[in-house]
Symmetry: C2
Subunit: 380 residues, 2 copies
Amino acid sequence: MKLTVNKDQLNGSIQQVSKAISSRTAIPILSGIKIEANEQGITLTASDTDISIQSTIPPHQGDVELFTLEQEGAVVLPAKFFVDIIRKLPEDSVEIEVKDGFQTMIRSGLSEIQLVGMDAEEYPVLPSLDAKETVLMQSDLLKTMIRQTILAVSTHESTPILTGVLFTIQDEQIKLTATDRHRLATREASIRNEEGTQFKNIVISGKNLNELQKLLPDQDTLIEVIRADNQVLFNLGSVLFFTRVLDGLYPDTSKIIPQAYKTEMVVPAKPFLSAMDRVNLLSREERTNIVKMATLDDGKIEISSSSSELGKITEQLDVPSISGEPLKISFNSRYMLDALKTIDSEWIHLGFTGAMSPIIVKPKDETFLLHLILPYRTTG
Amino acid sequence: MKLTVNKDQLNGSIQQVSKAISSRTAIPILSGIKIEANEQGITLTASDTDISIQSTIPPHQGDVELFTLEQEGAVVLPAKFFVDIIRKLPEDSVEIEVKDGFQTMIRSGLSEIQLVGMDAEEYPVLPSLDAKETVLMQSDLLKTMIRQTILAVSTHESTPILTGVLFTIQDEQIKLTATDRHRLATREASIRNEEGTQFKNIVISGKNLNELQKLLPDQDTLIEVIRADNQVLFNLGSVLFFTRVLDGLYPDTSKIIPQAYKTEMVVPAKPFLSAMDRVNLLSREERTNIVKMATLDDGKIEISSSSSELGKITEQLDVPSISGEPLKISFNSRYMLDALKTIDSEWIHLGFTGAMSPIIVKPKDETFLLHLILPYRTTG
């Protein structure tokens, strides 16, 4: 392999795949980045077996040549040093030449680096894909859906299946669900599904979705979501993101969402979020994050928290619309804050089904996004 | 105490003093911020006994009234929650009222916070100052001088006196010195010293200077440096910064600075820094940070480093001026990088006194700033 490539392009691709590099791996070759070069492009691959990321530099971008190839080939280079050095090279172009025994020379200006490379033949092969199991969706929509549900995944490794987000695809509908047994988040949307692909019990770890989220372009470009054995591939164009699917059966959450409320109200999103933010400052000092909420007689609600050591905070809020029974409830201020931050609407609909029963948090007049929070069982 | 104060002003003062709050202190009252209000201003004080910071909000800023006072007084409020909540209050003004038993009410819009306050009488008194031991200097100059020397302080608690920077003042000269026995940095400057103040063996911990640096205004305002018993006070105008002086005798470093060189060269600052930065990437992987430097025959120098595991990096640099003996030396790339980053000059003067003797790094044609680095004793 011998080529000259634009430094910024190479660096961009390295940054994209670097999230998948294993820093502590039992498989030495996975501590490297695989580089393959031919006339079609330069392809970089990194994998920690849980996720694999592939990024391709095409020969041209518009009229601009991104690399010149003297000799095809492949090599695996140690990621640790390679990732940092490329960014700091003195010139705009970088020459890479693989010699005998995978010794690799990198040259730029008066800098010369000799790297101990590894045999690309020994690098694991990425799963093959069945193009029949493909749906198309907007990149920014998927990004938003992940942001709106990922907060509710469990962080406890004792229930591995709940550390992931459930992807359900049926007809032209996609639904993401996450729950840690104390709260639940669901988000639905329409997609293009020409082949009638079904996703049932496909659960992807929150950690992996967090990495995917960073790679998803913000523009409304179409991306492909493809199922392959126990993997899902997100095809973002020049970047392929493979993730393993979690083992196990995701619990049925459809029955815990209440269909009727005892108390309902519509609150202004920003003042409610900012009051909750202040109350949470004190409630988190007590570790339990307990906050109390009650309806007052004059169309207001009161939110409060107290700490035996520090003091008390009381917030009042004008609520334009309240109906049903008077309310007195306690819940986790952190859960409410997390939910509120995912709602981009001006008004929030809160539904209560009793002091010991689920609280529903939704954008007003919308059903595509729903947060459920279980209240605390407190006295007084 | 009862007053109404501009939120941003109060928050600004809180941020200034908050660096001195003890998070884990044996003296409970030091976990709080002391607030004193009278017609002259609202004064906030925080202290961890090592440093103490005081910030005063004046009654007016130009034509703008910054606070209105209903009743003078003082209280100590728990910093933990207070620091965060003020920033997040809903309105631009904040009402603070101290009631019986130091219970303090904070009100802003529909937010009401009740804080468990403490008796300000129990707060430690700051040291009294002898105005005769005062010098005047530019704020931005002191900031630069700290930045240029602090890198060389020792991080080993086994030699406490070397964890500080030595301040020497004699006539109209101030000098800062720091050394960890492997490297040394000194910076000199002129100041106004009308009272003939002398600073001898005044050593201030690098940690404390780091906090001071953040508070020093960038503009060329004049600040006062005042000695008081075992403390030094930096008077920044609305902010007073007290720091304890380290116990012990600072070693005499004057004799280790060589007066003549065996090899001298002038190198371009940016290319040299950037080559050293790349070489350091590899040398740090070996933990020792060893880098080799040698003069070549054609007016170039070569800088290199190698790692048995990863490979080798070689940098060449055109050097316009070299004189004296050919050179082959090894040193710590981190030390050289740290020194180079403090020099704001276009050209750097490097002076060598032999493979086993000190390296001198200075801005070209200047003597006010000097870095000394001891080389590694390596073979080959």
